[in-house]
C-alpha cells in the first residue's frame, strides 16, 4: 500500500524523471539525425574544389578575372557576414582592362569559419584586405582600385583610415552606412524600420524557437542568418531592393561579433580620410528610403574630393539587379578609366 506522502513523492519523482529526460537532450547537436544534404553550402575548408587563397593564415574563398597584370579592382562585399555573390556583375570590368578580384571576408560566404570570439576587432578585416591586395598585385606599378558596397564600402574607408599612405588609386563606395558610429547606427535603424505588426518582422524572429545552435555549429547559425537577412529583401523593407539578393552563405559569427562590437566601441574611422586626395565616386540609390542624398552628402564629406552619383530606379543593392547595374556601370567605368 502506498501512503499519501509516499504517493506525493512518487508523483514528483515521475514528473522530474520525465522532465529531466527532455532536459538531457540539450547535449545533442543541431541535426544529429538529418536527411542527406546540407542547409548551407560547404566552405573552402570543407570543399577543396572551391577557388581559394590563403591570406594571413586564413583560407578565403576568392577568384579573379582579367589579365593578372591589369589594374587591380578589389570588390569588397557587404555585411559583415554577407558574401561576394551578389556583386558578380562586377566581372564586367574584366572586359574593360581590369583584373577584378572577388573574395569572401573571413567567417563569411564560403571562407573559413571562426568562433565569434575571433572577431575582436575590425582591424583583422582591414589587415586581410591588405593581404588580398598583396596576394594579387603582380608589380609595384600596378594600379589598385577598391570597390566597396555597404559594409564593404565602410571596410574600404577603414582600410584607408588605417593606412593613409596605401597605394590606392581610386575608390568607389556604394552606400556605406557611415564611418562614425552615430551615422552608421542611425542608418541601420532607418533601414530596419519594419512596422511592429508586419509579416516581415515576424519572419525575421519567429523561427528562433525552432532553430538554435552552439558557437561551433556554423551551419545552423549561418542558415538562421540567411533567414534573417532575406527579410531585408522583402517588399516592405525601406531599402528598396528589386528582388531577393543572390548569396552563397551568410556568416553568423562575424555578423554577431561586429553587431556587438559596434555599440561597445562606437568607432570613428574618419580621422585620416581627409588625407586621401583622389576623387571618390560615391553611389547612393533612389529607392533606398533609409539613405537619401542628405545622408550621402554627410557620410561622403569625410573625403576631400567626392563625386556623388544617385543610381536611379534602384535600391540599396544597386549593383546586383539589372536596373541599378545598368545605370551605375557606365559611371563607374568612366571613373576608373579616368584614373587608370
Amino acid at each position: 500500500m502506498i501512503l499519501p506522502m509516499q504517493k506525493q513523492h512518487l508523483f514528483i519523482g515521475l514528473f522530474l524523471l520525465a522532465a529531466s529526460s527532455l532536459l538531457f537532450s540539450c547535449d545533442k547537436s543541431f541535426g544529429d539525425t538529418r536527411p542527406d544534404g546540407r542547409l548551407v553550402p560547404p566552405t573552402v575548408t570543407e570543399d577543396s574544389s572551391l577557388p581559394s587563397i590563403t591570406v594571413n593564415g586564413v583560407q578565403l574563398h576568392a577568384e579573379a578575372y582579367g589579365h593578372p597584370d591589369s589594374a587591380l579592382l578589389i570588390v569588397i562585399h557587404g555585411g559583415p557576414g554577407s558574401d561576394y555573390r551578389y556583386l558578380l556583375n562586377c566581372k564586367a570590368f574584366a572586359d574593360h582592362g581590369f583584373r577584378v578580384v572577388f573574395y569572401d571576408q573571413r567567417g563569411a560566404g564560403l571562407s573559413e569559419r571562426f568562433p565569434q570570439s575571433h572577431f575582436s576587432s575590425v582591424e583583422i578585416l582591414s589587415d586581410e584586405l591588405h593581404g588580398v591586395i598583396a596576394h594579387y598585385r603582380t608589380h609595384t606599378d600596378q594600379k589598385v582600385f577598391l570597390l566597396g558596397h555597404s559594409w564593404g564600402a565602410m571596410l574600404a574607408a577603414i582600410y584607408l583610415n588605417d593606412r593613409p599612405n596605401a597605394p590606392i588609386d581610386g575608390l568607389i563606395l556604394g552606400e556605406p552606412g557611415g564611418f562614425k558610429w552615430d551615422d552608421f547606427s542611425g542608418y541601420i535603424n532607418r533601414s530596419q524600420d519594419f512596422k511592429l505588426f508586419s509579416e516581415s518582422l515576424n519572419d525575421a524572429i519567429y523561427a528562433d524557437q525552432m532553430l538554435s545552435g552552439k558557437d561551433d555549429e556554423h551551419e545552423i547559425l549561418d542558415y538562421k542568418l540567411d533567414l534573417l537577412t532575406s527579410v531585408g529583401d522583402s517588399k516592405d523593407s525601406p531599402v528598396g531592393n528589386e528582388d531577393f539578393l543572390p548569396k552563397w552563405r551568410s556568416g553568423a559569427a562575424t555578423f554577431m561579433a561586429y553587431s556587438e562590437l559596434g555599440p561597445r566601441i562606437k568607432p570613428d574611422w574618419t580621422q585620416n580620410l581627409h588625407l586621401y586626395n583622389t576623387k571618390v565616386l560615391f553611389l547612393y540609390s533612389e529607392n533606398n528610403k533609409a539613405y537619401g542624398r542628405a545622408h550621402a552628402e554627410h557620410v561622403s564629406s569625410a573625403f576631400p574630393k567626392v563625386e556623388l552619383f544617385e543610381t536611379k530606379d534602384a535600391g540599396h543593392d544597386m549593383l546586383s539587379f539589372p536596373r541599378g547595374w545598368n545605370n551605375s556601370f557606365p559611371v563607374m567605368l568612366n571613373y576608373l578609366n579616368s584614373l587608370k
Partner: protein
C-alpha cells in the same frame, strides 16, 4: 470590475497587443466544480503574438488541467506561422499557501517565409512555485522549450541560391530556457494574469532576437 473586463477582453481578442504561453492560473481559486477554463492572452514570446486556449479540469484528488491552446504571431498572413500546444498541467506539491506545479506539453509549430516552411514538433516542460491566495498569487516559473524534430521544405527561391539544399526531418533543432515571474488577481470566475521573464538558449550563451517574454492573460472558469 466586470465593466473593466469587457474592454480588456475585446483588446485581447482583437490581438492589438501580442503573445501567449502556458496557462497561468490561481490554483487556490480553482474549485472542484469549475471543470472548464478558457483563456485568452497576448504579449511577446519570440515574436509579438496572441492566442487562446481551453483547459479541462477533471474531478481528481490532485488538481490537474488537460489543455489545448494556440498562439499566432501578428502579421498579414494568418496561420502561416503558429504554435499549438497540448498537455497536462498539475499540482505536484502543496504546503499551506505554497504550491508547486508542473507541466509537460507537446508542441506543434509552423513557420513560413519566402525561403522555407518549417514544421516542428517539440515539448515544453516546466515548474512553477508560488504563493497562492484566493484573490491573488505570485510565482516563479521555469520552462524548457525543446524543438525536437523539424521538417524543412525549401522554396524555389532557396534552391536558386543553393540547389542542393536539404529538405526533410532534422533532429533536434533547438532548445530554449524560459524563466521569470508571474502574478495574478482573481475574482470568483476570472483570473487576470501577467507573466514576464527571460529566454536563453540551451547552451546558456546565446539568446533569441527577442530575449524576453511577457504575457497578459485572462481566464474564465466555468462551473461552480
Amino acid at each position: 470590475m466586470q465593466k473593466h473586463l469587457l474592454p480588456l477582453l475585446a483588446l485581447l481578442l482583437a490581438g492589438t497587443t501580442a503573445s501567449l504561453n502556458a496557462q497561468v492560473l490561481n490554483w487556490q481559486n480553482l474549485s472542484r466544480e469549475q471543470r472548464h477554463i478558457i483563456h485568452v492572452n497576448a504579449g511577446m514570446e519570440y515574436a509579438l503574438i496572441y492566442g487562446a486556449g481551453y483547459n479541462f479540469h477533471p474531478a481528481t484528488r490532485r488538481p490537474l488541467l488537460l489543455g489545448l491552446d494556440i498562439s499566432l504571431p501578428v502579421g498579414n498572413r494568418a496561420f502561416d506561422d503558429l504554435k499549438v500546444r497540448t498537455g497536462i498541467q498539475l499540482e505536484l506539491y502543496k504546503m499551506n499557501k505554497l504550491r508547486l506545479s508542473g507541466q509537460i506539453k507537446g508542441i506543434y509549430r509552423r513557420y513560413e517565409n519566402a525561403i522555407v516552411q518549417l514544421d516542428n514538433f517539440g515539448s515544453e516542460t516546466g515548474l512553477t512555485l508560488g504563493y497562492y491566495r484566493r484573490r491573488w498569487f505570485v510565482a516563479a516559473d521555469g520552462n524548457f522549450d525543446k524543438a525536437i524534430v523539424t521538417h524543412f521544405k525549401h522554396s524555389a527561391t532557396a534552391r536558386e541560391d543553393y540547389p542542393d539544399i536539404a529538405n526533410g526531418w532534422f533532429v533536434p533543432t533547438a532548445g530554449n530556457f524560459l524563466y521569470g515571474l508571474q502574478a495574478g488577481f482573481s475574482l470568483k470566475h476570472t483570473d487576470i494574469t501577467l507573466k514576464a521573464g527571460k529566454i536563453v538558449s540551451q547552451d546558456f550563451r546565446h539568446a533569441p532576437m527577442i530575449p524576453y517574454y511577457a504575457q497578459l492573460g485572462c481566464s474564465w472558469k466555468i462551473g461552480g
